[in-house]
Each structure stands twice: as structure tokens, then as C-alpha cells.
Symmetry: D2
Subunit: 378 residues, 4 copies
Amino acid sequence: MVGGGNGGNIGNSHRRGAAMDNMAVLSAGCFTRNSERNLADGQYWGVDPSRIYRDYREMADKESQRKDGIDFVSIVTPNATHYEITKCFLEHGIHVVCEKPFTLDVKQAEELKALADEKGLNVCVTFTYAHYPVLRECRELIASGALGKIIEVVAEYPQDWMILGLNSEEDNFTKWIGDPKKSGNSNVTAAMGVHLYYLMKSMTGLQLEKVLADFSYYPENAPLETSARIMMGFSDNIHGFCWASNTAIGHDCTVTLKIYGEKGSIEWSHEDMSHLKVAKLGGPVQLYAANRAYLSEPARHASRIPAGHPEGFYEAFANIYHEFCRHLLDKKNGAMQSPAQYFYPKAQDGVDAVRFVQACVKSQANGNTWVRLDADFS
Amino acid sequence: MVGGGNGGNIGNSHRRGAAMDNMAVLSAGCFTRNSERNLADGQYWGVDPSRIYRDYREMADKESQRKDGIDFVSIVTPNATHYEITKCFLEHGIHVVCEKPFTLDVKQAEELKALADEKGLNVCVTFTYAHYPVLRECRELIASGALGKIIEVVAEYPQDWMILGLNSEEDNFTKWIGDPKKSGNSNVTAAMGVHLYYLMKSMTGLQLEKVLADFSYYPENAPLETSARIMMGFSDNIHGFCWASNTAIGHDCTVTLKIYGEKGSIEWSHEDMSHLKVAKLGGPVQLYAANRAYLSEPARHASRIPAGHPEGFYEAFANIYHEFCRHLLDKKNGAMQSPAQYFYPKAQDGVDAVRFVQACVKSQANGNTWVRLDADFS
Amino acid sequence: MVGGGNGGNIGNSHRRGAAMDNMAVLSAGCFTRNSERNLADGQYWGVDPSRIYRDYREMADKESQRKDGIDFVSIVTPNATHYEITKCFLEHGIHVVCEKPFTLDVKQAEELKALADEKGLNVCVTFTYAHYPVLRECRELIASGALGKIIEVVAEYPQDWMILGLNSEEDNFTKWIGDPKKSGNSNVTAAMGVHLYYLMKSMTGLQLEKVLADFSYYPENAPLETSARIMMGFSDNIHGFCWASNTAIGHDCTVTLKIYGEKGSIEWSHEDMSHLKVAKLGGPVQLYAANRAYLSEPARHASRIPAGHPEGFYEAFANIYHEFCRHLLDKKNGAMQSPAQYFYPKAQDGVDAVRFVQACVKSQANGNTWVRLDADFS
Amino acid sequence: MVGGGNGGNIGNSHRRGAAMDNMAVLSAGCFTRNSERNLADGQYWGVDPSRIYRDYREMADKESQRKDGIDFVSIVTPNATHYEITKCFLEHGIHVVCEKPFTLDVKQAEELKALADEKGLNVCVTFTYAHYPVLRECRELIASGALGKIIEVVAEYPQDWMILGLNSEEDNFTKWIGDPKKSGNSNVTAAMGVHLYYLMKSMTGLQLEKVLADFSYYPENAPLETSARIMMGFSDNIHGFCWASNTAIGHDCTVTLKIYGEKGSIEWSHEDMSHLKVAKLGGPVQLYAANRAYLSEPARHASRIPAGHPEGFYEAFANIYHEFCRHLLDKKNGAMQSPAQYFYPKAQDGVDAVRFVQACVKSQANGNTWVRLDADFS
């Protein structure tokens, strides 16, 4: 692991998610620049002091030379550093799990993707919400044609942390997330909107072709957007939209996804993350519950506890790591299936997310016009 | 009443809503063109045969000449006839309750509004959803500043009747509602989107200045839109959006409204029409229930039954008629307060709704660009 | 109508419920003992002054002699008077709708039932909650065997009006409802528990054979119970329980019913009165919604408005009156079906409810032992 | 760890819960009687082969002699073996976490409790549901007097696993759980009812004095009860009840708890485990969410992830282990606070639960009469 010094929420999510199914062990790391705390943190997490490194380059060097070196690295450092660290590990032949965003600009993301492909390495960018157990069922249902042809996709993600932070006298991360010098040219679209895009894409398999974004700002003179309303044009002339706001008082983390087809629909809400509302044309809404025998095999395998015992955010994280590790193990054992058989967010998803953000930013700059995702953002 | 021959759902809503609080009695009418059924229907509803008329012009003539003639007429005829019938009764000095839409084009709507103003007559256009008891509390809370300055408004209305009807072998109203010859240049925006706009407006008092609409069509070659995603620009640079679809399988009539301010937020859903989610910055979400003592006086007066006993769609309808009749009675008795004190959708709301639809249609025609509501739509 | 002087909530429910489907017209009445207000109220409700009576005996006499006299009377007077008034109208050959409780003691209730049977008259005692549209579906599903053999029935009804009233400085009805001189030997069991019993019985058709009740009291020295926990033994050795409390802070009127069978279950909650949760063994929970095409014909006929438009308490009331009037009309027209085809609470239901209350009271007095409903309570 | 051979659900819950906060490491164990699998499992979980033992006695012996021996053992073996294994480790001076039930009879439970007390050792019996983050807030609110004097406590736990298993052709654990030879004299009360009792006790601090139980059986001739309805008499003349059924089709694991006081109430449901409904007399219901700043310090500390990111069953388990380990560490470091400051289910809770089951069984055997928990059950 690189980053994730003791106490960080993101680092804990990765550590707990990776360890959950006993498929990975934290064996080496470089947790923080403060060398004393680095050593203490690493030992606290059970890492042998000889494999706690001062900087990530040293770590990549040394670990890539050990016979028992790490198979993959988890990168949970500040956003602006993802590019260089990922690049370094890929160059050393080490697979990568990178906290989102993959990078801050499109060119860098595509460079990393190309590098990984060239080296035959796997990259995972952790968009988590799509990996709750019942969303595995959602994906299977759609792939099986249960909804018929998709006709509309809708998602939203209101939250209140930005407005809470702005109203707080304490120093907090909303101070830097609203600052373009520190977080690039997007606030809520990059922080939250991308999750909606990945959810839509990973569930439906639809290709997003273009967006039309309308941003708003709180306070009015804020340099980066705090609410983004985004119209979306998918392949096959399918339309949809999403909305993300971090100034929506009263919401914890209310991600909602609705997918409408010609024959049925599916609705999922993070507030009730263990159920799926599945409707067939003309029939009653059905509540699919996690880990029930009527679910598909992949969906049942995405659960760990008997139905009715909630699996939360860490378990969703663990599902990503589980699939990523399964991919690596199958590769090692020469039993690899097609990449699509391993359900985790890959390098291409990381690239797409950066393109999505840049397309939205450009749409807003252009006065709310359609911008294609394959536009040139350099 | 004009229209509403026995069996019609809309006619029943008006009859039941008008009678609920014993403030109006059905005394005269012209219910259908079939003269036999007209007579039968009228008598079934307790109307004296001498006041059951063959056509609305005769009714307006005769009733306006009677000393005990009707105070107001309820018009529940097909949409395309609203203009001429409303005009006729206004010309005869009779107040009007008109089912929405007010008219099919802006010019006609404005003409009727001007005529009513000139004659000093009251017009009500029945947009119903804003008139559930707890939404009265919503309006009072916002007016009192409980949410601070509004920063975003969001609403949606997915329903499945269009896709159900299109898949049905029986003849049904989706056949004509999708036909531009019968329903003008808009399907879902005119039928459902306008409800969202009126909800937003009547709750917040904000002025809608412009819209940017993205329509989609089911089946793909349908002449009129079946889903409308609409970005909205309100006065004071406040943004929002709404979405209406009648091809969203699994939804009955799931109107949802969310209003975000600097200090708090309110969320309401038609599925739980007797509660309001009220959140203050940093505090827990509170569930306000209809007819509770902690509500404001106007909100308590908008309920009829002790808390916990649901008041449904007819009671929301009755709240419109109650306020409309109260307005007429106060006028009669020379005790009229300012019009704003009577909470029902008025002629201006009818005009605004027509402008809203035309602005959306134009935005779509223009390739999804912003269109001002005060544009020229002739 | 007898009783229901202007302003009373119960009177309004009956008036609105009876008028809803245009099957009954308020033609005569005796609304209050204050003769001035009696006349004013009657006229306000559109009753011809010549048919507004000073007392109910005069009304029964005169109306039974008129050729166009009332077909039935609705009795909404204080509980203690139900017996004598019902008796009087039955003796005059007039059908009766009586607000619950039917009477305060078993002997009186059985006497009225016998009298009605002897005279061939219909009696309705208005237990309302079972008459929401989707509960009609519940009844049909169970009758059709969809749940298999019933194995357990559970219901609850917590509310807070008693504890609110006791804490209020204003005079309110909790003062008399807690007073044995005014409301007999039971408070919450008679006021609320009986609703649960009727719900269970009318949905399942099961016969309740015995109860074991545990009462509690707030304040501790209150003479009548404010919470009743009741174990229930039905025919065929089926067990269940119910709980009613009027000191449960936070609840409006949260009636919940759960019925479990060998093959499936049904759950209904008053808070979401338009949906039914239907589960089949091993399958997902299904949400049946009112007025959907997949419902049985009787359930669809119990709705008035398209799916998704809530029908509330008045509409449930109207369903009782609808069935009662249909029964009378079919009788008049010589087209009467078996009484079971008319779904409204009948005299026997009124008798059973009084027996239920007395059995619970006796169980508590006996130190929480089983008491049979067919015990001698004289 | 003793028991928990690879694949077992309970073993995984303990392993994941114990490891979550990095306060414990799995260092030794005896996982199954099959020595080959035992070794494989232990190594899979990272245990040094030299500390994987053939039987628990050897483990207790050897570990108690090592300087770096285990501080505590987690016992996740079949119910009937809990007594002897716990006894063995306590005798060797090792703290114990024991999966519930503590023992199958009262005498054994009390013996273990006395032994632990005598040895100054800590025992934890894992009743999990009370340890979701927001229930920590519930406990604090009640302790702070926010509800006033408690007046009624109600809980239920319907589930369908027994009826599902009985209808399944595959072999499954419902075959032995219904067999008195294998699971003692109670099925659903011991398996599920005890959770409700512990929830009530740990939240309110009330002492349960007596119970009156009514059991039912599915199929009718089943030797052990599949549904238990239990009236409860607490100290201070406070009454309540609970209901547990494992033949309730449609329910996953729907634990619900409702606590009513003179000034307010709290409701919690496992289906929405991250929220608490808190009502004050006369005020709106408030939804308290996990990890919000308005919560008490202990409740905030019981969460690991920002508000809105669900923490599930493993995290509740982790909260038990966290508090248990904190207790041990403070003891080690001589900084121990009063035992009440460490919130986990202790030996006394284990004893009480066994008494609860036996009192219910006796009440049923006695024909549904009150039985005191301090009765003699030998």
C-alpha cells in the first residue's frame, strides 16, 4: 500500500476490503512521508519493518526485485499523485489498485492504460457503489435481457458534506476540494458524478457518447461546481441523466439508480443497499434481497452472510478486491477467463471517468451544449 | 359542470372534490353530447332536469340569467375544447374551474387570463399534487424562511401508463395522447411535466425564467415525447431540473419534490403523501405528519381527519375547491383578502404552464438550448 | 343520520363515505340535542327542514311511515347510546349503519343481532381499516388459497393520542375515554384492539376461540388499560397475537397486519395503505398496488382512481357504504346474492367485537389466563 | 479460535469482526476435528502450524504456557460443547468470547460465570444486533433520560429459514435445529428470542422479572416451537412483549425494537440498521443517522465510515470485539474503567439469556402462565 497513513478513511476501506476474504495480505507499504509515523503505522498493520519504505519509488524497486515481492499495490494517496505512482509501479511490473480518480487529465489516464496493456498488467480503479451484492444481480438481469432493450437510465447522488464543511469553523477537506489548485477543474462531478456514470455503465453495458452539463455553485462565487445536472446520450440513441450535489442538506450518501427497459425496470438505492426493486411490465414491483436462493449464481457469490444480515460499504469494497485477486490468481495459475468475467472497475473505466468529467466541464464552459466523450480535451 | 359524463375519472375527481366540504352543490350541467345519456347522468348526480343542458352555450346563457344561477362552472371536457368553453362562461360572467391544461397555446391562455381579469372573475386550473395537506406546511415553511435562500429545486414524475397502454391490445387513451392531432405538440411534458413545474412554483414562489429540454421517444418513431428531462433556470440564478416519463415501468404515479436551501431542505413523495421530510443543516431528518399540532395553522386547516388517517387524491382536489369557494364566498361577502391568501392554481398558473410546455418543445426543436419562458411562441 | 352535529370527525366520515359513490343521499336526520343547532346543521347538509327531527324516536316513527322514508339510518352518537337507538330503528323496520362499538355489553349486542335477523334487516358496524382497496385483494388471495393453510396472524396498532391528551392542558376526549363511567370497562381494547380483531377475522375468515390479555396502565393508577397485549387462539389450533396502545409516542395510527401461511405471507400497513407485501415461499416480496390490472376483480372494483393516486380513510369508509348499499339495492331488486358476497362489517361482527373486549377484560381480571370468546360475560 | 472450520458463516463473522479494527490477530486455533482440514484451515487463515492444535484441551494447555500465548479464545463450536470448552479455557486463565448460547442449561451458565468471576477473567457472549452504531445512540439517549420513564418495550424477529429449510430437499441445519436431542428444549426462543431479550435489556437497562410464553409449532407435530409469543414483566411494573418466528415467510431477518417512554420513543429496525426513529412527545419523528455529528460521542465512535456508507453485520460484530479488546487492553495497562464502560454482552448476559429460554419453556409447559426468571430450573 502507498498512502493510507493511520486514521485515513480511504486507507481503512482498502485495508479492510482487501483483507475481508483472506485473498490478500498487507505485506509492504509506504504509508506517509513522516518516516516515524510511517514505520509505526506499518507495524501497527502488521507489516515487517524491512518492507516499510520511505518512498514509493524505493518500494517499487525493492519489491519488484524480491522473489516474494508484492503482487499488486493499492494506491490511496492524494488525487494529484495517482498518475506518477501508478506509472512507477506499472513500470516495475506490479499490478495496481488505484483509488479514484485514476488521474486528473485524460492524457495521463490514457498513457497509464496503454502502459498497463503493454505490460500485461491489471489495473483497478475503485468505484465502489456498483459492487454491493444485489447490484451483481442487477447486472446479470440486464445482461440476460430481463428488462428488454434499455430505454432510459437515471441516477442521482445528493449529499451534504460540502455545505456542512463550508459552515463549519473547523478546518476540513471541503476547504481544499473546492480549490482548483488542489482538485483540478471539477468538484462534485469528479468527486461524485463519476460514481453515477460508472454505476450506469457497469450495470447496463451502454456506451456513453455525449453529455450536456449544467453546473451550479455554492456559494455563488465558488470557483468549482457544487451541483451538476447532466444530460446523457448513450449508444443506440438511449438517453438519461444524472445529478450530483454536495450541498443537498439532509442527505447522507443517497445514491439512487433507475434503469428502464421495454419489458421491465430496476431501481436501487444506497439507503437500502441490500434490495433491488425489479418490475416487469404490468406486474407488481418485486423486492430482490441479497443472498437469496432465487438470485443468480454470481449474485449469490457476491454475498458472505445469510440473507437479512446487512453487508455494507467495506463488503462492497471487498467484492472489488475479491474479483481483482481472482483475476490475478487465475492469471498466475494459467486459468484466466475473459476479462469480462472478472467484475471490477478496470483501467478503461478509470479513463472513461476522466473523459466524463472533462466533457461535463467543457459542456458547462460552452454554455451547456452537448460534448462528445471522445472529444479532444488536451 | 361541463363534461364528466358518468364513469369518467376526471369528472368524478371534480365532483367528489367539490362536494367534500359541502361548499358547493352540483346544480346544473351539460355532461355529454349524447342527449339521452346527458339527461340520465345529470339526474344520477341529482341535478334538476330543467338545469341539464344540451350544450354549454345554452347552459352559460340560461344559468347567467337565473337569479339562482351557478356561481362557477367546472370544465372537464377534452383538452382542445377548454379554451372556447372557458371563454364562453367568462363572457357570461361565471367563474371557472378548468381541468388542466388551460389551453393548448399561449395566446389563448393569455386571452382567457386577460378576459377574467377584465371581468373580475376567478379562474382555477386544477393542478392537484401541490394541494395535499403537508404540502401546505411545505409552502409555509419556505415562506417563513426555514430553509434560508433556496439553492436548488428538483422534481420527478415517472409513470408507466403510456408503455402499458401501447402494449395493450385494448383501445385506450394512450392511442390519442400520443397523437399530435389530438393532443397538440407535447405528450409527457404537457400531461405530467407541468405538474412538476406548478409544484415547484407554488411551493417556493420562485419565478422560472428558462428551460433546456431533452426529449426522448418510445417507440423511437413516436411523434410526441414520452420522456422529458428539463433543466430549469429560476430567478436569482437558482437552478433545478425535472424529469417526467410515462414509459417508466414499475411506477404508479411517483411524483417526488426536493427543495434545497442554505439552511435546510424539504422532500416530499406522492407515495407517502402525508409526510414531509424536513432537514435542517447538520440536524436529523424530521418527518412532519399531516394534521399534527406542531404544524402551522394553514397546514392543519388543510386536513380533515386525525393524524394517521390518510387523506388522498380526492381530498387534495377538495383542498383546491375549498380555497376557490372560500375566495368566491369572501368576495360575495365583501370580505376578500389578498388573492395570495387563497391557495389554489389560478389563471396565471394556467398561462405559465402553457408557456412552460411551449418553451420545452422549442428547446428540443432548437437542439437542446436554453429557451426563455417569456419568449414569443406564436 | 342520528348524531354527527357539525364539526364532528366521525359524522363527517360517515357523511363523506356514504355520499362518495352517489349511492345514498342524506335525507333526514337528528344531529344534536340542541334544537337550534340541529336545524342549522341539517340544513347545512342539505336536509329538508321537515325531515330534521328533535329526537331519534320521532325520526324513526315519521320516517318509517313515509313512502319515501329513509332506507337506512347512520348512528354516530356517543357509544353508550348505540344500543337503544339501533334497537328503535330496527323495530321500525329501518336498516342500520352503526358506528362501532355496536354496544357496551354482550347481551345487548346479541339482542340487536337477533332483532335484525328476525326483522330481516341489515346492520353494519363500521370497522373501517379492513376496507382499503388492497385489503380486498388480501382477502381474495387468502380465500383463493394463495398462502396455503394459515399458521400465524399478527397485528398491532400503536398510537399516541391518549398520552398526548393526558399531557395537554386543554380539555379533550382522553378525559372521558379513560373514565369507566363513560366508556365502560375498557379503553384501548375497545377503542383500538377491536379493529385488529376485525381485520384479522375479515381477512382470514378464521374463528377466534380464546384470548389471553395482559393490560398495562398509564399513568399507573389509571382505571382503564392504555396498552393491551393479547395472545389469540383461533380455530384449527392457529395462534396469533395483537397489540394496541394509545400511549405509544411517535405513532399516528400505525395499524399493521401480518398473515403467515404455509405457502406465503401478506403484510399490510396503514402507513402505506395502498400497497400489500405479498411473499411466496422462497420468492421475492412483491408489492401489490391498488387499482392495478393484475389484481382480482373485487379488488379493482374497490378502487376509484388510477393506480398511484392515493385513496384514503374516507374512501375506505365509502367502500363499506358501497357494499352496504349494494346489499340493500340487490335486496330491493330481488337480486340478492349470499350475504358473504357483500363485504362490510355486519351485526355478527359487532357482536364478536364486544365479546372480544369482554374476554380480554376477563383474562386480565383472572390474572392473564385464557378466556374463551363464547364464555358467559353477563 | 476453537471451531469455525473454513466456510462456516459464524466462524467468518468472528474472524472478520475480530480483525476489523486491528485489535486482535488470529494466532492459534483448533478449527475442526479432521486433522488434515484443521491444519489447512489454520494455515489458510495465517496461523503458524505450530499453534494449530488437534483439540481444544491441548490448545488451552499449550497456549497458557507460552509467554506469547493467546489473550482470549473465540469459541464457535456446536452449541452443546460451549460449556466444556469455555470452562477449560477459563480454568487455564484465558479470557473467552463464546458464540451464543452460553450453555444449554442454567446451572452450567452460572457455573461458568462464577468461574470467570473467581478467576478475574472476561467473558463475552456474542449477541450481535445491539451493537450496530445507531443502537449505541439509542442506549445513550435512554440513559440520559431523553425518553423519560420507560413505559413499554416491544420487539419482534420474524424470519423464514426454518420453513424454507423444511421445504427443501437438501439436507440443512433446520433438520437438527428442530431436534431436541441436538438443540435442547427450545428452537426459536433459544435461537432468536434471546436476541430480542438482550436488545431490550442492553438498550433500556431494565431487569426482566417474568415471562408468559405461548408457543406454536410448524409442522403441528414438531417437537420444538417454531414461533414464540412472549409477554414480559420488567422491573418497576413495566410491561412488554416480544415475538420470534422462523416460519414467517417473506422475512429475511427483520429484527424490530420499539421502546416507549413518558416523554419520547425510539424505534429501530434491522432492515434499516443505520437509522433510529426518535420521537419526542408531540413532535415530529426524527431520523438519526449513523456517524452524524449530532450523535453522542460513544455513538460516533461506534462507526468507522462517513455517514451514509452502510456498516453491516460484520461491523456490528467488530464493535463487540472492539469493546471486549478495549476492556482487556485497559486491564493489561492498569487503566480499567468500570465494566459498564465497556459495551459488549458479558457472562451475566449469557446467563440471563439461558434463564430467559428456560422460563419461556416452563411457561409454555405450565399452560401459559407467568414464570419468574429467578425460578429454579434445575
